[in-house]
Amino acid sequence: MRFAFKTAYEHDLGLFRDPVQRAWYAALLAGVILVPLAVPAYLSDISLVFIYGLCGLSLMVLAGYTGLVSLGHAAFLGIGAYAHVYFAQDLGLPWIVAVALASVLAAASGVLVGLPALRMTGVYLTIATLAFALIIQEVFTRWDHVTHGLKGRPVDKPVIFGVSFASDWAFYFLCLAVLIAALWLTANLLRSPTGRAWVAIRDSEIAAQSMGVHLARYKTLAFAYSAGLMGAAGALFSHKIGFLAPDIFTVLLSIQFLLMVVVGGLGSLHGALYGAVFVALLPVLISEARDLVPAWAGHAAAVLGKSVGDAVYLSLDRFVKQPGLEPGIFGLILVLFILFEPLGIYGRWRKIWLYFSTFPLYKAATFRRQKTYMRSERLR
């Protein structure tokens, strides 16, 4: 196991633990920059991973760091997307300005949701955000003037300072740049008093308050920041899908965002990104599985005879073509993670890493959660 040898307080203020870690991140960045050369066909899919990464980051701040679970984040994404398209295409504002305004508008609506949410905790808050998302979806449907209602509206390719980002690889780097900027800003907040206040609210509101944390201010701030990030993600998302319609920003999308942060690992920026990769890849895997059904049935027929092969084909075919398959699998995975790996993919990765770095001294109990003592959260 490597220990960082710290000789100045500065070492704890940096973004990276030590030069080795910084080198690893630099290598990762180089890898991501070289991806377009390696797999040009998948650039568009990977751009979606980056956009989902932004969404995951947004919800991670709120759910993972502040402990406020939202089931309405698709609404903020939608607000960002529609606002961006409205500002850029109807008002003809420059791209950067349109994104900034969309982000600010989403943040403002986040404050709007956050204010009543201050009096609610836990599942009640989640239901309030869900209600908000449903209302917003209705607004998207009815507000013809801006959203063009159910007809939907096409989105132009992004043009920034006269440079077109229409090609897949240009858009890839645009998304990557925004994601890295958002990661940097969020990491900055998390190492500042604001981030500590958020974590404090998550772990014990009553203690946070006694240490001088203004609960209402920091909860609203978390909502606003999270929604603002979501708004920026929405702007990119609108270009990615190229066509906006109200039925894109459904509750299912909100559930996917929640799935991202839980599966990735609550309370870590890495987790948001792992979750984004996972959620973006899962539909691809499911559709791959769909295509493979005849092949599997063929194998079964070859080994077990034609009648078994046909039966296998029919049942598999019916299974993979079930209308609710995707949300069903998402839900199942969410339940399995909560049951077996509440720390998510990032938690699993930490365990594996610790196992090898402390081998053969790893204690299985390192991550076991102790029963906590009765908490005065009951006071409230």
């Binding site: 307080y9 604001t194 240490m211």
Partner: protein, 252 residues
């Protein structure tokens, strides 16, 4: 000089009068202890002082200012810090992060600066870190600096929680049962720390405590409560020998 005073405090929870006309004065530099059987209203008084509850009537005075209607997050900024009976640390954070949160009362609200982590933020963070390190040195927490609170034994958590309260640089420190859940040795250490906090840091201590050895060792003044009323007050020995107090504990 009177640092803190409670004036005729009354709290009703529905039909129950949890605190019934309690008044007391804490002099600056004292260790003032509140004792009493379970349900006497000791922790309720703490929750009144940290403004988690609103009193039905009565006043709280701190440094001659009325703090009865001050919002709870203002209390730390005014110079009152507290610990909790059952430990309310931020468990999924390290000891250092917990202590740094104790500095929140001294944090400036500069969202845009923090977003970009400008040099000013960096300088302030370094100052907070220095303040937290002083507390780490004071309480001998060096070995636990980077440990997560979830992984720490109960006794250490108790000290960390006290450290977090000290990080706010309070004038008045409220300790809610500092010895509960501690071993005999840890309780003895706690007594030394409370004395050091008073004499070395010059912080006035108001505590709720059951362990009479700790109470006698550190208290300058003791107040006994039962059913929300003051039974007796005075030196530890006087209160312990007071017939009403003996009756409240032993019955009869």
């Amino acid at each position: 000089m009177t640092l803190f005073a409670a004036d005729e405090l009354v709290v009703n929870f529905g039909g129950i009068r949890a605190v019934d006309g309690v008044s007391f004065q804490v002099e600056a530099g004292q260790v003032f202890t509140i004792i009493g059987p379970n349900g006497a209203g000791k922790t309720t008084i703490f929750n009144l002082i940290s403004r988690i509850y609103d009193p039905t009537s009565g006043r709280l005075l701190f440094r001659d200012e009325d703090i009865t209607r001050v919002p709870p997050h203002e209390i730390a900024r005014r110079g009152i810090a507290r610990t909790f009976q059952n430990i309310e640390l931020f468990e999924h954070a390290t000891v250092l992060q917990n202590l740094l949160l104790g500095r929140h009362a001294h944090a400036q609200r500069r969202f845009a600066q923090e977003l970009l982590f400008l040099p000013a933020v960096r300088a302030r963070e370094r100052a907070h870190r220095e303040a937290a390190e002083k507390v780490i040195d004071f309480l001998d927490l060096q070995a636990y600096r980077d440990s997560f609170v979830v992984n720490l034994p109960y006794g250490v958590r108790k000290v960390v929680e006290m450290g977090r309260a000290l990080c706010t640089e309070p004038a008045l420190l409220l300790l809610d049962e500092p010895s509960s859940g501690l071993s005999v040795e840890e309780t003895a250490d706690m007594a030394f720390w409370i004395q050091d906090i008073r004499t070395l840091l010059g912080i006035t201590v108001l505590m709720v405590e059951h362990d009479m050895s700790l109470v006698s060792a550190v208290s300058d003044r003791v107040l006994a409560l039962n059913y929300g009323r003051v039974l007796a007050s005075g030196s530890a020995r006087d209160v312990q020998e007071h017939p009403e107090v003996i009756k409240a504990y032993l019955g009869g």
